[in-house]
Amino acid sequence: MARKISYQQAINEALAQEMRRDSTVFIIGEDVAGGAGAPGEQDAWGGVLGVTKGLYHQFPGRVLDAPLSEIGYVGAAVGAATQGLRPVCELMFVDFAGCCLDQILNQAAKFRYMFGGKAVTPLVMRTMVGAGLRAAAQHSQMLTSLWTHIPGLKVVCPSSPYDAKGLLIQAIRDNDPVIFCEHKLLYSMQGEVPEELYTVPFGEANYLRDGDDITLVTYGRMVHLAMEAANNLARQGIDCEVLDLRTTSPLDEDSILESVEKTGRLVVIDEANPRCSLATDISALVAQKAFAALKGPIEMVTAPHTPVPFSDALEDLYIPDAAKIEAAVRKVMDASRSAA
């Protein structure tokens, strides 16, 4: 049996193994080591939640603390990527994208096209996403749809320790800029992870459960809630197929369509806000390309169109849960039965 480590350890291991394998890989970000210029311990933090802890001492000079200047160091990572290095920059919380968006949106994402295919920008931007830490509106967003909208970027959101390691190694080796979204509530999740290097390819959804009645498409932390709902529904005789997208750009359209062609029903679960989101995008994709297969309406389970609230009473309402997913599935099942 493969050994079990956490999502967080899987990310740390991927970074360490790739840095050992490839001397052009380096890390830059705010407190990715911690303690720069301070009288006390170096590598004091290893990232605000300790994800990069230990790498500073293993790779001298290649784990760089930056001043709190998101435009500055994200831009520097973009610039370094054009010069044959493979930077992994860390945007502590994805919410801070507001500070540095230009360097991703207008620089990294555009170089290759704008320069007629001559630029290669192998940048990885690791960033924490998602609600659930009572961290309120500016430290809890799920901005995957924002990145996914931008041509030139690849967007990854792993749901398990195994995927986290394999997708991060793929991201580092990939020659395009990759936004690597780490869900903060998954950091402590344990799972089987091979000790060897391996890559999980982009654009291949993972079938986590085969089912004939309805397709649940999701990614990130919602995968686990969808599985919980599917297991509950199985006891009621509803057989859900669960697809974990793994990457939202590229998007595995084929697997989504293949599954809906089989089940005829779709619920999309997305922790992000609903307008112009992956949920709407996937719903539109299926309505457009698999309309004939649909036996009932498409349902979306998403956060509401509000910022992420602080109070636990509200945040728990904000985040989709298994009960909401089950209700959506039942709604689709009921609607399609009555139509039949």
Partner: protein, 368 residues
Amino acid sequence: MSQIHTLTMPKWGLSMTEGRVDAWLKQEGEQINKGDEVLDVETDKISSSVEAPFSGVLRRQVAQPDETLAVGALLAVLVDGEADEAEIDAVVERFQAEFVASAASEQAQGPAPQKAEVGGRLLRWFELGEGGTPLVLVHGFGGDLNNWLFNHPALAAERRVIALDLPGHGESAKTLEHGDLDELSGAVLALLDHLDITRAHLAGHSMGGAVCLNLARLAPQRVASLSLIASVGLGREINGDYLRGFVEAANRNGLKPAMSQLFADQGMVTRQMLEDMLKFKRLEGVDAALRLLAAAIADGDQQRHDLRGVIAQQPTLVLWGSEDAIIPASHAQGVEAEAVVLPGVGHMVQMEAAEQINQLLQDFVRKH
């Protein structure tokens, strides 16, 4: 003297912690003979039938269809002889009171595979049982020691049984030097040396059969007997499309058609089996290893090695599935060995007809 037997949730492979009861194949009141399939159980990795390890009348179906139960949990009560309902109630009650799911207690994990530097490379192997001349199980191309999950515990009832991951496979080192049969046979020999085993029964499946044959050619004194299951090296033909498809497949949709050719029963090819195989194929070094070995085994639809000459050296058992789509069962004909072709079974004979294979292997090894 009557006996009350408890039939429990089996542990198939290293990672199984629980199983879901799919359907009962025998009804209460039916007479069951040892080896009969009693019920179907599904895990996240595999679905198969639970066979009765003893004979008797099925008196109580304790587990219900769709129920998910921990490994070791009570499935049924069989009675060989007479027993009244109260006695059966008492057995069930006592079992349930004492049963602690092993998954809940970390200590109760049972034996685990070992890993060590053997002959200059990392090898993983798994030992069960003790005594007798040891039996070594050698998996085929793209496989690992879990290919023997239905066989290993049963075979270990009578002797020490070792299943290994060949170089390039499972959790053994992935880098191959030459990527030929000599390298693989050398690794098995190195493991025998490492374990201080001077002489062993060898059982090999598919490419593993050729590895065993080749080992017997290189070191005949180390081989007590050979059991060759759907083995490479006993004829010309091999399904080159399968080898190519398996090597090239990079995703579930690519792999499924290849893996489906391995089984006569398509139900055996589960989502998890495909996912596990993809996980293996993604590991650094595996692709290169598989390409080397595929080229070492075959050139298109033709096998490269004819090892039939080795058979007469030692007692040899040749087993095949009649529906083998990888290497034709006709290769079992005309060999100087005991040969059995099992009807309705594909290339993964030891998984698809586990009980029969276990019986045949056990009887054969016991004789030699």
